[in-house]
C-alpha cells in the first residue's frame, strides 16, 4: 500500500528572497531520489505539503509549471512555526514534499478561450505556474488572449518581478501591474487597487475565464467588478485556502459543507462556491 502521508525527500536547490520585507522567499527543490519527480506529476493550480522534519507540514501552492523540468518551486510567506523555520533553512538542506494535492485550474475547459488572470499579493504562486504553463510554445496556441492583472502593496512586494517584466515585453500576453501606493519614481506601471484596474482593463467576458487569486479583501471587491463586466459565476475561477493537515481529504478540518478544500478543491468556480455554505 502506498503511504500517502510519506513525503518525497528533496534538497533545497535555491532560495530566492522575493519581497523587500523578506517575508516571502521562493524555494526551489530538487528530488533526492530519481523517479520521484515523475511520480510528482502535477498540473498548475495544485498544491503540496512542504514537510520539515521536526516542525511539521504546511500546504503551499506549487509555483513552478509542469513545463519546467528538474525542480519544483514554492513561494512561502513567513507566518508560523514551520514557515519561520523554513525561512532560516539553507540551500543544500534536506526536507520533504508530499503531493501533488487537490484539483487544478480546468485546463481542458480553458482551451480555445481567453484567460484573464487576476492576482494580488503573495497569492500569485499558482498563477505564475499557470502563466508559465500557458506561455510554453506547446501550449500557447491552445489559448486565445491572455491578460494578467497583478497587484501588490508596493513595487517591492511583487513576486517574480523579473519574470513579470519579461512577460510585459512579449506580445502574446498583456500584463497590467499595479501597486496600492508608491513614491518610487522608477515605477512605470499603474497605481491603484486591483479591482479598479480590472474595471479599467475591462476584459471582455465573451469566451473568457477569469482566474482570481488574492487576499479576501481583493476578492470581495473584484468579484462585483467581474460580474458587472458580464462574467457569469461559472466563468470566475478561484483558489481557496484552508488550514490543512493530511491534504488528502481524511483529517476532516478543511471542509466547506460537503467539499474538502484539499481534495475537492482548492479550485472552485464562483458558481460552485455560490452553492456552498459561506464558511471560508
Amino acid at each position: 500500500m502506498e503511504n500517502p502521508y510519506l513525503p518525497y525527500p528533496v534538497v533545497i536547490d535555491k532560495i530566492i528572497t522575493e519581497t523587500e520585507d523578506r517575508s516571502l522567499k521562493s524555494f526551489r527543490f530538487v528530488f533526492k531520489n530519481p523517479g520521484d519527480e515523475e511520480k510528482f506529476a502535477y498540473n498548475p493550480g495544485q498544491f503540496a505539503e512542504l514537510s520539515v522534519a521536526g516542525k511539521g507540514e504546511i500546504p503551499i501552492g506549487i509555483a513552478s509549471s509542469p513545463t519546467e523540468k528538474g525542480f519544483v518551486l514554492f513561494t512561502v510567506n513567513k507566518v508560523g512555526a514551520v514557515t519561520s523555520f523554513l525561512h532560516n533553512m539553507k540551500e543544500g538542506d534536506v526536507m520533504g514534499i508530499r503531493g501533488p494535492m487537490g484539483n487544478w485550474y480546468p485546463w481542458d475547459e480553458l482551451e480555445g478561450k481567453n484567460v484573464v488572470i487576476i492576482g494580488g499579493g503573495f497569492a500569485f504562486t499558482t498563477l505564475r505556474s499557470s502563466i508559465i504553463y500557458m506561455l510554453h510554445p506547446d501550449n500557447r496556441p491552445k489559448f486565445k488572449d491572455i491578460k494578467v492583472i497583478y497587484g501588490a502593496r508596493t513595487p517591492g512586494m511583487l513576486l517574480y518581478k523579473d519574470e513579470i517584466e519579461a512577460w510585459a515585453q512579449r506580445d502574446d500576453i498583456d500584463v497590467y501591474l499595479t501597486v496600492d501606493a508608491t513614491n518610487d519614481p522608477s515605477w512605470k506601471h499603474r497605481v491603484g487597487f486591483v479591482p479598479a484596474v480590472t474595471e479599467e482593463v475591462a476584459p471582455n467576458p465573451d469566451n473568457t475565464y477569469a482566474l482570481v487569486c488574492g487576499p479576501p479583501v481583493m476578492i470581495r471587491f473584484t468579484q462585483p467588478v467581474l460580474e458587472r463586466l458580464g462574467f457569469a459565476p461559472g466563468q470566475i475561477i478561484m483558489s481557496l485556502e484552508m488550514r490543512m493537515k493530511c491534504g488528502i481529504g481524511m483529517c476532516g478540518r478543511c471542509n466547506i459543507g460537503t467539499e474538502y478544500v484539499c481534495k475537492d478543491g482548492p479550485v472552485f468556480t464562483l458558481a460552485q462556491l455560490n452553492n456552498m455554505p459561506k464558511e471560508y
Partner: protein, 349 residues
C-alpha cells in the same frame, strides 16, 4: 458460516488462550466504567457491560499514533528524511464490540479507504482486526441505534456475532475471519440447535422493543443544505456548548485527526492524534483568520457533518450510529437526538 453454542466458562478460557497467541481486546470493568483493554495476566474481560465509555475506534485509530520517524543528526546521511516505522500489525481480535460500534467502523472506513487514497495506518489495523460483536440484550435508555440504520442485533461490519443466552454464548460467524475465530475459541463447542436460535430471535425481538429512543432521518437528505446551514436553531443548540472534545472523542464515528512533529534530542517522530472540530485551533489559518471562529459555527459543523454533509456526500445514511455516548456524557447535555429532530423537521421560511 456456522453457529455454535459455547459455555461462558469455556469461552473465557478459550479467550485467555487466544490472548497468549495474539492481541485480544475485550471490555474490562475499570471501576466506574468499562473500556476495551488488551487481555493479559490480571486483566479479566467482563461481558456484563452495557457499553464501554470510550468507543472501540481507538483500537483501529489510536488516539495517538506514531506515523513516521526521522533523524535530525547532521552526521546521519539520511538526516531529515522522514521514514516509515517498521511495525507489526499482527492480528487482533476485538471481542464484545457492540453492533452500533461495529457499524461505526464501516462508516469511518468510507473516509479512510477512498478511490484516490488509502490510509495505510487505519487500513492495516482494520484488516488485522477480527470484530466479534456482542448483541445488546438490554439496550440503554439513551440508545437509538434502530433509527440510525443499525440495531441491537445488527450484523453489519462484524466478523462474528455473539448472543448472551445466559450460561452460554451463541456465536455466529459472518465472515472468513469470524469463522477462523469461531474455530479457535469454539473447539469443542456444539452446533447451535433450533432452540438456541429461537431463543436468540426472542432476545432480539425483546431488545428491539426495548429501544424506545428514536430519531427522525427520512427528510435529512432532501433538506436544502444551505437552508439548514443558515437555520436559526443553531444558536440555541450551541449556547451551552463548552467546546470540549468529549462528544468527538467518545463518538465512534468521529475520525478527525491532527498531525504533529515531536523531537527528542536528535530523533523525531511524526505523530497523529485525534482532533476535534470543537476546538478553535482545528481550523485556524496561519494568517489568524478562522472560518469557524465562533462556537456556534463549530457546533453546527459537527452536527451538519454527521447529519447532512455525510448524508449528501456518500448517500450512506447518517454518520451517527445511535450509541448514545454523547447524549450521556456531554457535560452540558447537548442531545443529538434533539438536533436530529431540528434538522430533519426544519422548514425554511
Amino acid at each position: 458460516m456456522s453457529e455454535k453454542i459455547i459455555a461462558k466458562e469455556q469461552f473465557l478460557q478459550a479467550l485467555k488462550q487466544l490472548s497468549n497467541q495474539q492481541a485480544v481486546y475485550a471490555p474490562v470493568n475499570e471501576g466506574e466504567f468499562y473500556n476495551y483493554k488488551k487481555l493479559e495476566d490480571g486483566v479479566e474481560p467482563d461481558f456484563t457491560f452495557q457499553n464501554t465509555r470510550l468507543s472501540p475506534k481507538g483500537l483501529i485509530q489510536p488516539q495517538s499514533e506514531r506515523m513516521f520517524e526521522y533523524s535530525l543528526d547532521p552526521g546521519d546521511s539520511e538526516a531529515n528524511v522522514v521514514k516509515e516505522i517498521k511495525r507489526d500489525y499482527g492480528p487482533q481480535a476485538i471481542v464484545g464490540i457492540r453492533p452500533c460500534d461495529a457499524k461505526a467502523i464501516q462508516l469511518v472506513k468510507i473516509n479512510f479507504d477512498t478511490p484516490e487514497f488509502r490510509d495505510p495506518f487505519w487500513l492495516k489495523r482494520y484488516e488485522a482486526s477480527t470484530l466479534v460483536g456482542l448483541a445488546c440484550n438490554d439496550p440503554c435508555a439513551s440508545c437509538f441505534c434502530s433509527t440510525t440504520g443499525s440495531g441491537p442485533f445488527n450484523e453489519e461490519g462484524l466478523d462474528a456475532l455473539m448472543t448472551d443466552l445466559g450460561d452460554s454464548f451463541l456465536i455466529k460467524s459472518l465472515t472468513e475471519k469470524g469463522e477462523a475465530f469461531l474455530k479457535t475459541v469454539g473447539a469443542g463447542a456444539k452446533d447451535a440447535q433450533a432452540e438456541d436460535k429461537r431463543k436468540k430471535e426472542e432476545l432480539k425481538g425483546k431488545a428491539e422493543e426495548a429501544i424506545r429512543s428514536e430519531v427522525p432521518t427520512a427528510k435529512l437528505r432532501e433538506q436544502d443544505l444551505n437552508a439548514l446551514f443558515d437555520a436559526p436553531f443553531w444558536e440555541d443548540v450551541a449556547f451551552s456548548c463548552i467546546n470540549c472534545g468529549t462528544c468527538t472523542y467518545l463518538c465512534p464515528t468521529c475520525w478527525c485527526f491532527d498531525i504533529q512533529d515531536e523531537v527528542n534530542n536528535l530523533k523525531g517522530l511524526r505523530i497523529r492524534n485525534w482532533d476535534a472540530c470543537m476546538f478553535p485551533l482545528f481550523t485556524l489559518h496561519g494568517s489568524g483568520h478562522n472560518p469557524r471562529d465562533h462556537k456556534v459555527q463549530r457546533v453546527r459543523q459537527r452536527f451538519m457533518h454527521k447529519l447532512k454533509y455525510y448524508v449528501d456526500k456518500y448517500n450512506n445514511g447518517v454518520a451517527c450510529v445511535g450509541c448514545g455516548r454523547c447524549v450521556q456524557y456531554c457535560p452540558v447535555n447537548i442531545d443529538i437526538r434533539k438536533v436530529f429532530r431540528y434538522m430533519n423537521d426544519y422548514e425554511a421560511r
